[in-house]
Symmetry: D2
Subunit: 362 residues, 4 copies
């Protein structure tokens, strides 16, 4: 009831951080979509630990294996199963966590809900779970790009702690984002953010931030009012990413202090195309894409595992002290970028297929 | 694919603003829950137009009829169908909208998606659609209060335009909120917000704002990782409410500029109960309720219909001018409060039943 | 969790036999499908009680009201809500059933499952529930005929008690079926079946039988292996009809005593079209329609309510005697014909839309 | 949209016969259910090819690997991923099938639906797909037996071609069934069936038959009217098994030639328990289990692959001849027995959890 997502393009993910591996089954993928293992591996490499100086030094290779649903570089229309085996286990680093609840982690809640917990490395509540999202996202991306070649999704780190990247969404370039280890959209911001992450790590501390994401050339007409409005399913998708605390689309919380005359996006014609002069709607009106860029922002809290001693309780309900061990990201933002993009691709793909299901009467 | 919501407690809403009526079918409601028509009508009256000087003067009575699923004040376990007939039609006020797209409304997108549009009053994209949410929410509330008597949901207007209500979530009292027409948590703020709404209406303008919502005494263990985390389904529910542009839980966007040492909620014991000293997690950790108050904030944009002339285009793709007619809310926030509470009850009810489904091994 | 059916074309039915009414909400219907109230009423009239000498004499008019989703004779793409109010209540006929379990009825099981029961007239377990199926089926039919104009569904009574109608599925004509009150495909059989039904009624008894159904000109490619094979979803749909005890497709149970060389359908070319020389597959291979007629047979048990005294128990678990009262069909078959057709249309419509969702890569 | 099944206990299967492997992800399994790899392997061994003289001699070991969701012999409440790698590939046996459609196989329909086909060994349409059903069924069985220890599911071959096993469902013993290679309930029938299967193989032919299944000590109250009646979901499950052509419950097609007075199951009290004197209802009334044995029968067609030359067409739409190669079951029935049981366990498990979700009001 919990690890499946999507309505037509349906993903079902599985895997504990220190189990055999993690993976996903994708049911509802159209046939004859070009797809190869490299497409998926490319995205996984962007999410991989150990890729830079500011992320966790764990060295998982995260090699993906396509188990079904693809033949000679084309999807078969049957379920696509993807598997990434776990490699670099260091469970001993987690021994203390077996009975002690890490503050602001899922440990206590998993015990309370399930009465059992895969304590090593966070189990299902580990960020390792997002591998399956990224793998599924790569498949979704292949589908969307086949059906709507111009559509693109681009995410970047817009804020780390107090440092805000000033680049406007429309000006963000993928080459710049991928050209710095923070994955922000501006070189100066990248340097400042990198330094503050390194400083935080030095203190055994961690930092929060904001990932922004823009969808360019989204087909008009995606989204299913009233409950599966495009922004509602995007919010669902993004808020399900570990550590995400907030979501906004278009004007977002800034809309609260606007009047209607300040906020409305007036329409005009650009050739044969209906456009809006401003885009406070964030590319979505009435829950349906209007063809303008879809702009979202997601707030991420700082990593909960700290190398600093904290008060907590254990599973015998005694108050104890805990200091984090293991190798953790002092800031999840750089690695969250491909995860955010993946969830956006998955939502777009599902809505695109849903729209095809009913947009049949000529 | 779009007007159903929920996994076990499943609602299916319907209705255009100027059609015969609006309603909902609830499938999956447990049997023998005490429920009477007054329970539902009470909540609908809070949402009703014409209830105060600062909302639309339309005078819909919004009387609900229980068509099935209830007998002698108890639910039967069979689908509950609820119907509210539409009464106060003034379609002529909408004649101009038949062919002209109102800026920042759903008109253009509905035409683009469906190739047809119930233009009178916004059709399915009208705020009238939220009647069905409130009716279903009243049923959900009855279920939750039967299963978990202490649980309560309380929403209030926390911001209108630039005026922010300073009351902390834990201090908000229902009597105060229901005691002023803005439904804010502080009398001074209520006066200021009322005045700014009246001023905006005087100018033919409208105002945005923020609704906050707190869930008190939520059972521990609700939420289904990884995709149906409690905050993810709450975000889905809230972002599907018309005009909602942003959602945050706990620290929300403020988490972005926190370090882990500033942000973590340390655990302690309060008698036999595991508590956190702070609540930046917002009552949810790892996607599962931890028993602390669940605090959310939702940003709402200002009403798009203005009594001010705006540039726009029509369905023949000509650029035209439009000035709103009809009777609209200059600020949706006061009437959004019961809608927000209803969506929270629906999400809680669904998660409570889902949890019962699997929490069976003793 | 129980009164919804369908994946893309999703129906949600509701209503107790002696409540306010019965109805259905259809979510996922494409926009711009021609649909008027008469299309639906026509099918409901075929299901209506009181239509002939061999069915129940209850005189429900069963007038349908379209509450939403249709404008000027076209669907809007939004949920379609349909309502049929109950009229002819005679609850007193059911007073005795309030505490006594009718043999082979749902009474005992509803009490055991829900702990409460809408005892009057069977409540949700009444055949009156099938009104919503027929109403939804009429909408599904409109969609399928718009998308695939040649497709047709034809059901008929193939057996009543020991009398079997000999007409082969391919030879059955709608005019003949609708031309006799039993709805069988042969006039001689009609007379014999009518007489045996009248005889049974005279004895206070009831009769079982078989409804056959053929789908002609079904598009090739419908059905979603592996679990939603076309025959599997048809079986689900048909076996959910009250009193249905068996389902078979193509050769059905006769396949059990065939060898492969007797059973296989060899392929040949008819012009550009791949055909099979025989049709023991029943128009479905590997769970997917192959373009041949889809032939199904459904067994129906005799009506459980008898005007004969029977042994039973009451809700205080005492052994008692019961003689049926009220006005019941001595044979449900004639009125089951439109119900069977409706469920077939609903399944076809859903699979057609599902196929459109994924058959997008050219 | 097709390879997922279940509502709360949700399975998602994947895998082509000649791909890397086959498997299943189970989402919605309760936590703390005792489960070990041997429980699953035991059932897979019953389904395994090469286990006796009358099934295919292919020697797949079908070793299952638990990839997630289980720790120290207990389920975690998180998704359970199971993998069985494919071993014994002999694709060359299928070379001819790459372009030629085997009569009464899925080949043509897959090509027509998907425009592509995993031709080797039938791909997704291979009986190898049922491995995932059996693996998931073993998990479902573990859940049901934990929640309702007395419940048991027993299937057997009741008919092969013209030979019918006379043992009444209530008299069937597991030891007898597992004691003969046909898996029928009577030793004499076993000998006759074995001989007729060997004879058919000798002719290059195949045989159909019937699998019967009984559920003993099913809890009262399972099944969700109106669409997810217990018999409807069982029918869905069974009719999705490859080669299944018919389903009946209780009296089944025999009900057609009964009168009500012949068919009704009268109630009586057996101590505190409500019982029926006969069981033509097959343990289900109104779609809900009544505590009597649930008796089902499923018709299976003869294996389509024959070692006899047949007429057919190829994917260039030319009429050609085809003689089967490879190693196939001359009769699928013996190996269908564990598949039928598995689907029954899966349906029961899902309904048991669904019932727990809503049976909460005391």
């Amino acid at each position: 009831m919990s690890s499946t997502f999507g309505s037509v393009f349906k993903i079902s993910t599985w895997g504990e951080s220190h189990g055999v591996g993690v993976g996903v089954v994708i049911d509802g993928c159209p046939a004859r979509v070009p797809l190869c293992v490299e497409d998926i591996q490319h995205e996984l490499n962007r999410r991989r630990p150990g890729q830079s100086a500011i992320v966790t030094p764990r060295s998982e290779e995260d090699r993906v294996e396509i188990l079904s649903g693809v033949q000679d570089g084309l999807t078969l229309g049957t379920p696509i199963a993807l598997l990434v085996r776990n490699k670099d286990h260091r469970s001993s680093a987690y021994d203390e966590m077996q009975h002690t609840y890490r503050p602001s982690h899922a440990d206590y809640c998993y015990d309370a809900k399930y009465g059992i917990r895969a304590w090593a490395g966070g189990g299902r509540a580990s960020a390792r779970e997002t591998i399956a999202r990224v793998a599924a996202g790569a498949v979704a991306q292949a589908v969307v790009k086949t059906l709507s070649p111009g559509t693109d999704v681009l995410a970047w780190v817009q804020q780390v702690y107090t440092c805000v990247c000033p680049t406007a969404p429309a000006d963000v370039q993928r080459a710049v984002v991928e050209g710095n280890i923070v994955r922000t959209a501006n070189e100066t911001a990248a340097k400042e953010m990198t330094q503050s992450i390194l400083d935080a790590r030095g203190r055994g501390d961690s930092l929060g931030g904001v990932v922004a994401c823009t969808v360019r050339n989204c087909p008009v007409g995606l989204g299913d009012p009233v409950f599966d409005k495009l922004e509602a399913t995007l919010a669902h998708a993004m808020m399900s990413i570990p550590a995400c605390k907030g979501f906004e689309v278009g004007s977002g919380f800034a809309a609260a202090q606007c009047s209607g005359s300040e906020h409305n996006d007036t329409f005009y014609m650009e050739g044969a195309r209906v456009r809006t002069r401003t885009n406070r709607s964030g590319g979505i009106q009435g829950g349906i894409s209007n063809g303008e860029d879809i702009n979202m922002r997601m707030a991420f809290k700082p990593t909960a595992t700290l190398m600093i001693e904290q008060d907590t309780v254990n599973d015998e309900h005694q108050e104890v002290k805990l200091r984090g061990k293991g190798r953790h990201d002092p800031c999840v933002l750089p690695r969250a970028v491909p995860v955010v993009e993946s969830m956006a691709w998955i939502v777009l793909c599902d809505h695109l297929l849903r729209q095809q299901a009913v947009s049949c009467i000529s």
